[in-house]
Amino acid sequence: MNLKLNSSSSLYPNEMANENIKLQPEIKGSLSTLSSTLLVSGGFFVYFLLQGSILLSLLGVIVPTVIIFAYSKYLKQTTYTITDEKVEYDREIFGHTNQEIPIKRIQNTRLKRSFLQKKMGGYGTIYISTAGSRGSDLTLRSIGNSKNIHRKISELDNALYDDDYSSEETPSNTEALDVSTEATKLREASEKFRKVITDSRNTTTGDTNA
């Protein structure tokens, strides 16, 4: 897989670089999208071959080749990055688009795999819905190993909550102290302190008087 590193500065400084998953849409996973193109051009090829005009039938080979080549180039410009804090979409064609979704904002996810994608080896498309407005959802299109990626996103989502719970497992230290009783004891000690001071002062003043 061709990994493309982008130097865009991240909003999340403490994310771990080694946990990042970088993905790109793959042409093999997009074959269902291209199937109509291939079908039409195939028909074109066969029809003109039977008509006997080889030059025209060659068009039925050249055109889809160019389309597929251009499409795969286009797909190479798109990168999806999954870290433990966010899912990011980055596309550098006709300008630059970068979209980020924090994992905790993910509301629901959907994995869709067509028959062809399943047969080609685990390709699929993941749709991510966020808590924000309707239009801003993210789609990871035609990515490989889609099932595991979908599971990974669920896992990251749950990990956020598990972190919240983890403090529960470490109960606060050995002796249980009560704030109010400790405060009372402190007050009593300070009163004693005051008494001792006044007592000693009284005795010293008494001594000088005597």
Binding site: Q107, N108, L111, S129, R134, D164, V179, K185, A189, V196
Partner: protein
């Protein structure tokens, strides 16, 4: 028998509480129409086959963390909603559905508008919804408890500070006496 929804679809370590499939009676109209159309050739059989596949390859599931809906025979779609993210639930049953003991549950999350996930023609909708809501609020509760624990941890810290201050003070008193 082929299992449509398996452990393979959920996150590792996630436990599946139950999986349910739509009740066949929800398709009663189509089934009757299919049977009627059988004498007229393939259409009836096609209709029956599509209804069969539709019922067989639709699975609803509750795990300890999320709700899943998986549909599709040759292609498939897996939809997942975390239990923490569920905002409100609604179930509905028509009169006939009530007789057969199934109904529809709608789940909404904070995202988008309307229903995000729908469990159609599920048996015991009332009980299922109750189960889901209980699990969801249990997770919510767990989150609250963990917040309380951190709060009491802060209080413990404060109490310890108070205690140490008192002990210091007592030492000072001892020195003076």
């Amino acid at each position: 028998m082929h299992e449509h929804f398996t452990e393979d679809d959920v996150e590792p370590g996630e436990q599946i509480n139950w999986t349910k499939q739509p009740h066949f009676a929800s398709q009663i109209g189509g089934l009757i129409l299919g049977v009627i159309l059988i004498p007229f050739g393939g259409i009836g059989l096609l209709l029956l086959a599509s209804i069969y596949l539709n019922l067989k390859y639709t699975t609803y599931s509750l795990t300890n963390k999320a709700l899943y809906k998986k549909t599709g025979w040759l292609s498939d779609t897996v939809q997942r909603v975390s239990l923490e993210k569920i905002q409100d639930t609604e179930y509905s049953q028509s009169w006939a559905e009530k007789k057969f003991g199934f109904g529809t549950i709608d789940f909404s999350t904070a995202g988008g508008s309307g229903t995000e996930l729908q469990f159609r023609a599920i048996s015991d909708p009332q009980k299922s919804r109750k189960e889901i809501n209980e699990l969801s609020s249990k997770l919510e509760e767990k989150k609250k408890v963990s917040n309380q624990v951190t709060q009491t941890a802060d209080q413990q810290e404060l109490a310890r500070e108070l205690k140490e201050t008192r002990e210091n003070l007592e030492k000072v008193i001892e020195l003076l006496e």
